[in-house]
Amino acid sequence: MRHLNLVKPLSLLKEEFSHTDEIHLDSFGLSFTRGTLIEIGGAPSSGKTSLLLSILSKLTSVGEICALVDSTGGFDPCSAFLAGVELENLLWVRCGGDIEKAFMAADYLVQAKGFGAVWLNLSCLPKHQLRFVPRNHWYRYRTRVKETPTLFLVTTEEPIVGSASQQSFLFSRKPAEWFGTGRFKLLKELRSRLISRKQFYEPMAAEIKFDYTNV
């Protein structure tokens, strides 16, 4: 049985998994490792954009420069400002719905090195177009951001990155909460369930509320 000593105990493996250079989001109970590719998927109104804005807020507020590849041009800077994103530290690239340009723009950005985060937003693009994206794109991004401080974030409605991503999260929406009665109602909050698709040791699932009252 001596040869079995070569195999590390599971607890030790788990320790090695957690890196020191991590970005913690206390409000979501999540942490992201720099130099990796993270995928965030989910149905409409499930909270993907809110989570991404929280990450950008965390990074830009300390002076890091982040970039957003807005594939369809749907980004709303007003929401970003309310989420605490320092807009002066954000580079916004609008691709006008051209998927090829979006991927090339993301490639240029990861080549520049040094961005706190690069967010490739593919949320509003047609699903059939995204299914045709070759897998080697994702592996290329993964290799490019490796050993850099950049967090490469991808948002889509359905998971498409596959094994190239280090972490993959999936949001599912729950009914929204409204307050007021009759015709005088206001949106109060969105509720979502977050599932980590790659947390092998402790399958994680959390319920998150997105507040709309102060918006």
Partner: protein
């Protein structure tokens, strides 16, 4: 090697200042502008051009070419050159020494009382004053009179003080034959940049603006103003930037000549803070932004800017600005808020309404009954404008999401989703 100084005195130096300086620049780098002219160092030019007489002829030819006139003199000391040029003597002398000896004393820095005494004694010119022993003059008029004697003996210790504040350097090149494709000129531009940035570096400056103008075969000129967001003299960076900028909007005709000008700025301090966060190197950021602008269009890359107005889309993208990497002092809570995303273009919708209540919605992408809604809101505060007529609702669609619904005059559309 003895020093030689040239001085040009003009009748209207204020008017002619720029021309005088440009003429002086053709002969020297060390130039001092005077109230009534310009003084410059021409030492060593006797090997290139000839004796001082020939040098004066050349300078005079340059002045004539620029349609101005002036008194030009060349001497061993700056004082002598200035005094001779200012004397404006119409009498021709064999050499400058003889001319200097005949200069009137009132041109020299001598007090008026002393000048009056000299006048009463019949001493009016330099050679007359030189006959009096220097010790006697110093003993009578004080130690400060020694400076006057030094000037008279052409031993003045005044030095040329370059006071011309240069703020740019230029480089130009005339092509042997017109070139249509700008990319063929990259090697020429590379050489030009090499020389230009070397000059900038030698003067202890850096640059963040480069002006390039091409003279075209159609006898027109095409100019480009290329700016970096930071000072740098890295040639590779400037060459890439020039290439990206010009390929975005190339000249419309064949290029005949190139003119480049680099503007001086203070060099960038290279020191960073101990706890500075990582960010892309300024050169990399600028080049990446320019590459992106080349690909998706200039108006689609930049920094988001909010507008202080109540409008449907109260924001802009500023393509002129670069991300600054500025740290925010204000600390906010980490509470997550509901974000909004626009659909671009808006999705047309069919909405079923009964008793002024939204019942269901049908679009090419989703459909379902409206679970909850709030509204109606006005999209804009500009009541005198068209968007005032647009009405908005926030709707939650069964098995869908939470959307913002808009109604124009007759048509409905979904302009975005809460996410």
């Amino acid at each position: 090697m003895s020093k030689l100084y040239a001085c040009i005195i003009s009748e209207d130096a204020k008017r002619d200042k720029a021309v005088l300086v440009s003429v002086a620049k053709q002969f020297s780098y060390s130039i001092e502008t005077l109230e009534d002219g310009v003084l410059f160092d021409v030492s060593g030019l006797e090997n290139l051009i000839g004796d001082p007489g020939q040098l004066i002829k050349n300078i005079l030819a340059q002045l004539k070419a620029n349609d101005i006139s002036g008194q030009i003199r060349i001497a061993d000391t700056p004082d002598t050159a200035i005094l001779l040029a200012r004397s404006d003597s119409s009498h021709l002398f064999n050499d400058t020494f003889e001319e200097f000896q005949n200069l009137p004393l009132q041109d020299f820095p001598i007090e008026k009382d002393t000048l009056d005494i000299f006048h009463d004694l019949g001493i009016r010119k330099v050679h007359e004053l030189r006959q009096i022993p220097a010790n006697e003059l110093i003993g009578r008029y004080g130690q400060q009179f020694k400076n006057v004697i030094d000037v008279i003996e052409q031993k003045g210790n005044r030095r040329l003080q370059p006071n011309l504040k240069e703020n740019s350097v230029g480089w130009s090149y005339d092509l042997d034959f017109p070139i249509d494709d700008f990319e063929q000129l990259i090697f020429v531009i590379n050489r030009g940049l090499d020389q230009l940035l070397y000059q900038v570096k030698n003067r202890g400056f850096s640059t963040e603006q480069l002006d390039i103008s091409f003279k075209l075969r159609t006898k027109t000129e095409r100019s480009y103003e290329i700016k970096a967001s930071f000072p740098t003299i890295e040639k590779k960076f400037w060459l890439k930037l020039v290439n990206l900028r010009i390929s975005l909007d190339p000249p419309e005709a064949e290029i005949v000549s190139i003119n480049m000008m680099s503007w001086f700025t203070r060099p960038r301090p290279d020191q960073r803070g101990l706890y500075a966060v990582s960010r892309p190197a300024s050169e990399d950021l600028q080049l990446t932004v320019n590459k992106l602008k080349n690909m998706v269009g200039e108006e689609n890359v930049g920094v988001p800017v909010l507008l202080d107005q109540r409008l449907p889309k109260a924001f802009n993208l500023d393509p002129e600005r670069f991300p600054q990497g500025r740290e925010k002092i204000e600390i906010r809570s980490e509470a997550s808020i509901v974000a909004f995303t626009y659909f671009n273009p808006p999705i047309p919708a069919e909405v079923f309404v009964r008793d002024k209540r939204l019942l269901s919605i049908k679009t090419p992408h989703f459909s379902g009954s409206v679970r909850q809604y709030s509204g109606v809101w006005k999209a804009s505060s500009k009541w005198w404008d068209k968007p005032w007529r647009i009405q908005e609702w926030d709707i939650e669609v069964e098995n869908g999401g939470v959307y913002r619904l808009c109604k124009g005059r007759r048509s409905w559309s979904v302009i975005g989703e809460y996410d």
